[in-house]
C-alpha cells in the first residue's frame, strides 16, 4: 500500500511540475526561446503572492486574481522591451540574456526579502485530506493536479481554437510571412510571454503554498520544468503533463526506497528517457 500511495502522491505532484513546465514549453514552442530565468520567475510570482496575501490579507489562492495579471503584464513588458531586441535566427543571445536575468532576479529578491525561507499560508487547505480506504489524498495536491489539467486544456484550446493561437502557430511556422499577413511579431511574442508568465503565476502560488521558498529556489524549479518538457517531448503540452507525472512518480518511488533518493530518482528517470528516446516520449508529430 505504501507503494500505491507513493505513486499517487507522485502523480499529483506531477501536476505541479507540469505547471512549472507548461510556460517553458509554450514559449520554446512559439519562439524558440529558452528561458533560463523561468524558475526564478516562478519564485518571483511566489514572492509577489507573499506581498499580496500579507498586504490585502487574502488567501493565497484568492491572491491569484492579482498575481496573474501582474505576472502577465511583467511578461509582456519583459518580452517587448528586452527579449525582443535579442531575438533572431540564433537562439543563443536570448538564452544568455535570460541567464543574466536569472542572476539579477535572484539577487534582487535576496536584497528585498533576505535569504529567509518564506511560506504562503493556505490555512486548513494545507492539511485537509480525503480518506479513501487506507489511502489519504491531500486536498491541496489534488487541487494542484486538477488546476494543472485545466491550465493545459486551456492552453491547448487557446493554441488550436482561437485567433491568438492561430497567430502563435503562424508566427512560429514562418515569422516573415506572418508579418506580411498583418501580424506584428513583437506583439505576438510578447503575448506568448504574457501567457507563459500567467501560468508561472499559478505555479508560483502553488509552490509557495506547498513548500517554503527562498530567493535561490528558482534553478531547481527550472530543472524540474526542463525535465518534464523533455520527457514529454518538445512542443507537446499534454506530453509535458505526462513528463511531469513521470518525474513526480519517479521521485515518489525514490523517496520511498530512501528519503535521500527522491531527487536522484527523478533525474535518473529523466536520463533514462533521454537515453532511450532523445526526442521525448510524445514529440509533436507534424500533421
Amino acid at each position: 500500500m505504501v507503494w500505491v500511495n507513493a505513486i499517487i502522491q507522485g502523480i499529483l505532484i506531477g501536476g505541479l511540475y507540469a505547471l512549472f513546465a507548461a510556460g517553458l514549453s509554450l514559449i520554446f514552442g512559439i519562439m524558440r526561446l529558452v528561458n533560463i530565468a523561468h524558475g526564478d520567475l516562478i519564485v518571483v510570482a511566489a514572492f509577489i503572492g507573499l506581498v499580496v496575501t500579507s498586504m490585502l490579507d487574502l488567501h493565497p489562492l484568492a491572491s491569484l486574481i492579482v498575481v496573474i495579471p501582474i505576472m502577465a503584464l511583467l511578461g509582456y513588458a519583459l518580452q517587448y522591451c528586452l527579449l525582443n531586441q535579442t531575438m533572431g535566427n540564433d537562439i543563443l543571445p536570448p538564452l544568455l540574456v535570460t541567464f543574466g536575468l536569472s542572476v539579477i532576479l535572484q539577487n534582487g529578491l535576496l536584497e528585498a526579502f533576505s535569504a529567509d525561507p518564506q511560506k504562503l499560508n493556505a490555512g486548513v487547505l494545507e492539511t485537509a485530506s480525503l480518506s479513501m480506504g487506507s489511502l489519504n489524498i491531500g486536498v491541496l495536491p489534488l487541487l494542484m493536479f486538477i488546476v494543472a489539467l485545466a491550465v493545459i486544456a486551456g492552453l491547448q484550446w487557446i493554441f488550436y481554437y482561437t485567433a491568438l493561437g492561430r497567430a502563435f502557430r503562424a508566427t512560429s511556422d514562418n515569422a516573415e510571412i506572418a508579418q506580411l499577413m498583418g501580424l506584428n511579431k513583437k506583439h505576438i511574442f510578447s503575448m506568448a510571454m504574457a501567457l507563459s508568465l500567467a501560468v508561472v503565476a499559478i505555479a508560483g502560488i502553488f509552490l509557495g503554498t506547498r513548500t517554503s521558498f527562498d530567493p535561490a529556489a528558482g534553478p531547481a524549479r527550472l530543472i524540474f520544468g526542463f525535465e518534464a518538457v523533455i520527457i514529454g517531448g518538445l512542443g507537446n503540452l499534454w506530453g509535458t503533463l505526462i513528463g511531469g507525472i513521470i518525474l513526480g512518480v519517479a521521485q515518489g518511488i525514490g523517496a520511498q526506497i530512501n528519503p535521500g533518493w527522491q531527487q536522484l530518482a527523478g533525474h535518473i528517470a529523466f536520463l533514462l528517457v533521454l537515453a532511450v528516446r532523445p526526442t521525448g516520449l510524445f514529440p509533436r508529430v507534424s500533421h
Binding site: A163, A167, R169, I177, A178, M181, G182, K185, H287
Partner: protein
Amino acid sequence: MSELLRCSDLSKSFGSVTVADSINFSVSDGEAVGIIGPNGAGKTSLFNLITGTLQPDSGKIHFQQADITRHSSAARCRSGIARSFQIPQPFAAMSVYENVLVAATHGARLPALKAQHQSIEALRKTGLLERANDTAGSLTLLERKRLELTRALASGPALLLLDEIAGGLTDKECQSLIETIQKIRSENVTIVWIEHIVHALLAVVDRLIVLDFGKVIADGEPNAVMASKEVQENYLGLAADA
C-alpha cells in the same frame, strides 16, 4: 481614377548590385499592371520594397496618398497591400482554412465571424473550398499558388501584388488561374503582377512596365510596349537591326 500607389525615385543596392535604380511609377485605383523583365532585373525586390520586407536606400513610397516608406510590413498589410510569393510559403502545419483565417483576422482586422465569412468567400473565389480542412503542407503546386492568392485576398487588399503566380503550371492550370485573377480584377482590386509568361499577363493587364537592371525602361499600353525597340533589344533579346 485616383492614385493608389506611387514609387518616387526608389533606389536600393546590395553592395555593387543595384536592384532598384530611381524607380518612378504610379498605379491608379482599379488598374491592372504587369511587370516584366529579365531575371535579376529587380522585379521581386521591387515587391519587397513595396511590402516593407526591404527598406529603400532612398526614395519614397506612397499608398493611398500616405507616405508608408517607414511603415512595417504588418502595418502595410493592414492598410491594404497584399502579396503572393513566387515560391508558395504556406504555414505548412496549419489547415488551409486556418492559413486564410490568419490573414482575414490580422491582415483585414476583422472580428471573428466576419473573418470566417471573408475566408470562406476567398476560398470559394479561388476554388480551394473543398481543400479547406486539409493541412497546407499536403497541397499540390497549383493549390499552393491558389492558397497564396487566397491568403492575399482574405486580407482584404486594395492592392494585390502577384509574384510569378503562373510560373511552373501547365497550360490548363495557368488558364484556370487567369480566370480566377480576372474575376478578382472585376471586383475592383488593383493588381500589380510580375510574370514571365507574357500571354498570361496580357490576358489580364491593361498596362505593362518593363524593368532591367533596376530601371524602368518602358511603361505603357502592353502591345505598344512589347513592340518598342528598347524592349525588343533588352528583354526579348533581338538584335536591334533584325
